[in-house]
Amino acid sequence: MSQPADQDVTQLLERIRSGDDAATSELLGIAYHELRALAGHVWRDQPGDHTLQPTALVNEACMRLLKTNPNGWNDRKHFFRVAARAMRNLLTDHARAKGAQRRGGHDIRVSIDNTQVASLDQGVDLVILNDTLTKLSDLDSRLGQIFELRFLVGLSVTQTAEIIEVSPRTIELDTQFIRAWLQKEMSA
């Protein structure tokens, strides 16, 4: 992974603020690689059931990429939006790999006979989840964004409200709606 110069990221954020969409996708690329690299680093180094929350991951990425002005909340807000989208891309990639595996490869399951390691990938089918999310974002891009920030990055209601710029109560209701909708669509 090539480390972008601090200047680049700050400039990108400048450009995003002035409405330059190309800058968003550039930053998205940077954030995506940074997150992947960080995540890989963390998960290779930490035993599986140690909690490293994605919020910490995004924060870490933000700190690394925004060394020049890590505390400017405006920058951080923009960065979080982009990073949340990058998280989403991680999810998508993952689901794709999973789908390919399902079609051609074989699913590896490891039997684990005590609690020393948490079991993997339980409860949610990522391929279906990913499809459902794509549909959700199409129908309502704000809900898609809320999903990314809350469900993927793990931001709190308040933090999400600040980034999306709506009231916390709306975020709460939307979160409930998203849960319900996902549950319904995925069990269909």
Binding site: T51, Q53, L152, G154
Partner: protein, 886 residues
Amino acid sequence: MASNMTREHFAAIRELFHRAFELPERERTALLQRECVGRDDLRTAVEELLRAEQTASEHLNPDGGLIVRCLMTESANNRGDTALPEFIGPYRVRNLLGRGGMGEVYLAEQTNPRRDVALKVLHRGATRRSLFDRFSREIRALGRLEHPGIARIYEAGQVEHSDSRIPYFAMEFVSGQNLTEFARSQSLDLPSRLELVAKIADAVQHAHTKGVIHRDLKPSNILMATADVSKVGDAKGSRCETRTGFSGPQPKILDFGVARVLEPEVTESAATEAGLLIGTVAYMSPEQLNGDSAGVDARADVYAIGVILYELLTGRLPHEVRSKPLSEAALIVCEHDPAPLYRRGQTPLGPFDRDIQTIVARALTRDREQRYSTAAALCDDLRRYLRSEPVLARRPTVTYQLSKFARRNKGLVTGAAVALLALVAGLIASTVLYAREQEAHQRADAKERLSSAVQTYLVDGLLMAAAPERMGHEVKMLDVLTLAADGLEDRFADQPDVEATIRAELAEVLSKVGKFEESEAQFALAIPLMERVFGIDDPRTIRALLSRSSNAHQLKKLPASAQTANEALTRTRRSLPTGSDLEIAALQQLGATNIAQGRFKPAKAALHEALDLAQLAPDEHQAAIIAIQALIAVADGHRAAGDSESIGEIAEAAAVTLGPDNPTTINTRSNLLIRLNAAGKAAEAVAIAAELPASAERTFAPGHPMRGHVYRNSAESYRIAGQFEQAERLALMANDIFSQLQPEQLPEQEVCMAQMRAIYSQWPGHQDQLQSWSVNSIGARLKMALPGRWFTVRNTLQKVISDLATGGIQMTDCDLLASVWDSRDTFAPPGNKRRAMFFANFARAAAAAGDLSHHQEALAMAQAALSDAEKPNVVSRMIENAASQR
């Protein structure tokens, strides 16, 4: 329906869902009926969603868990094939026990000796240096540890595998359940659970003493070696037996994979410590959650044991953080105390008594300074509780109380805080000293008793009593210290050693804050007590004697001071080896007192002897040497007043070695100012005067005479330099201090007055101030004049007269004369040979002030006393003179 849903329709569903969701369930149907007339599809969609919301999988939680699982599977899949190898090194692999970020754990069989082992293997994809480092760190950590509560390492090695070497290690295989499962399945009672946690704490303490901090203690990392498994083992169980009769299975701590190994030669690589969160949120201490991974120490493990204890007792976590995003979890853990146990009393084990509550609270204190400082301390308290002994955590620590105290008294006069801190520090120091003493005599019980008595006194007696609800918000220094002295006798009636310790300390503090009289009163009580309890020649007693001598010096009771210092010196020579700290201090005090008495020769003899002794061990006595040299310079300097060189050098040395705020430095610099002022070296003097008062304020309590000296000498430097505003400010501050002190300080006060007059007489345009200070000065002198010391009065009266005669002042304060008149028989009793002269002088002063009736009366009294006068002729002329003044 979803596939061809329009955005408008979706928005309508969402909107209605919001509205329905906010209503109680029974009102939802009505709303939907109302809103969905003719739109059954909308109604069905919303109803389905409301149902789905209730059954939504817990995996669909907004906590970031989804992406975590993605990352985990990704990284698991990247590990390549998972077929079990038949052998790893000499071990036959039987089963995969689990897999973590670093590698796999297998159950394997060793042939010689024949036993089951847990085999931990670094996973094959691992090429990163940091992983190897980490793996070998775990091996080193385990290699250091040998404790029944920690799974033991047997052997470490490497296997060849397609061009690479894969490290592994074999360790004790523990087959039991984990801690919480075990406690639940066995329905353990309270003592058994506490004993389990004590055993864990004991094991963790072992790791800590070996420089290993686990950092990820949690029930799933602690497995129970049940009785039948420990057949390999031994009589270990009996060691753990307690009076409760429980000697159950042994918990074994596993997984030192993220342990911090303190190795002086190895600094942890930045990569593993780059602010990343290590551990498991629910068991992480606030300092870990704050991201301070570098600063995490043994107390983080203590916190984790606290969480485990809490969970074992209540079945719940102290903070429900499992489903919360990290940011929220961190906020909860760092900002809130856990729900106290009594509020979770609805458990099979509760309600819990107060001791248990305090132990848990102390282990889980957010501020790690207040936590049990070691796992051993927690273990001890648990065992103490199990033996029904009082637990040490019962009260918050003194420092905690102090900080609470400070918080309660935001408007607290700083003096009180200073005094309290000094008192507490002193008490702690002397408790430690005493404890050491007792240890030497193998009287551990006495030590325990003293330290707990002192602690109780501090916390209950002092800090609690000074609570604002009892004393109001403005707690004054003296109030606090008086409070400290109050009731000492009753409280410690049967413990004279405690009373003596506290009194001596109190006396020390009172002296430090400038309450010399009060200090002397405490010394007078403490020292006889110490002599009785500790012995006449005990170092503690001698130390108190020296402090008393220094205090008497401050009180200007110089003969008493010298006598006490001499007594202390005799005792050190009788009981202590030559050159002891106390001997040097006694000689130094003797020197200082002699200087104050103007006896320079014996002063220098004592000081040179002290210097010789101190220089036998110059490193130990660095501060003493400088202080002694400073005193010698003063003793020498009285003859060569102009010589400021040597004292300047010493002041410089003191500042460099002891720091600018050290009392010796301040004292020496203050003396240097006197020399510089006398020599008229204004520039040099002002440079010092610009900083010295601030130093004195940092070091000496408000009202301390040393502050007064510093202010006055600095004011003098400014006066000589012609900087009158600065001079005035400081001189007023000096005057404030000295005018509040005891009558013994009268000479100091007179010097202050003289200084004020000097400043105003040189300062153009300050004629009024000059006059008022002249009157002040006279008033002060008359008021301070002690009965029988009528020279003062006579001098004062003459001063009044001369000031009046030269027209310098208008005497308006007739009260002064009246008050002298009222005490006339005290100043000049009937029959005294100076009585006539006194009245003659008084008559002159009264005439000058226009007080004719007193003038007449005084003349008559003078005539009547003339027959007793020493020199009737002279006095007779004085009377005539006075009579003609009218």
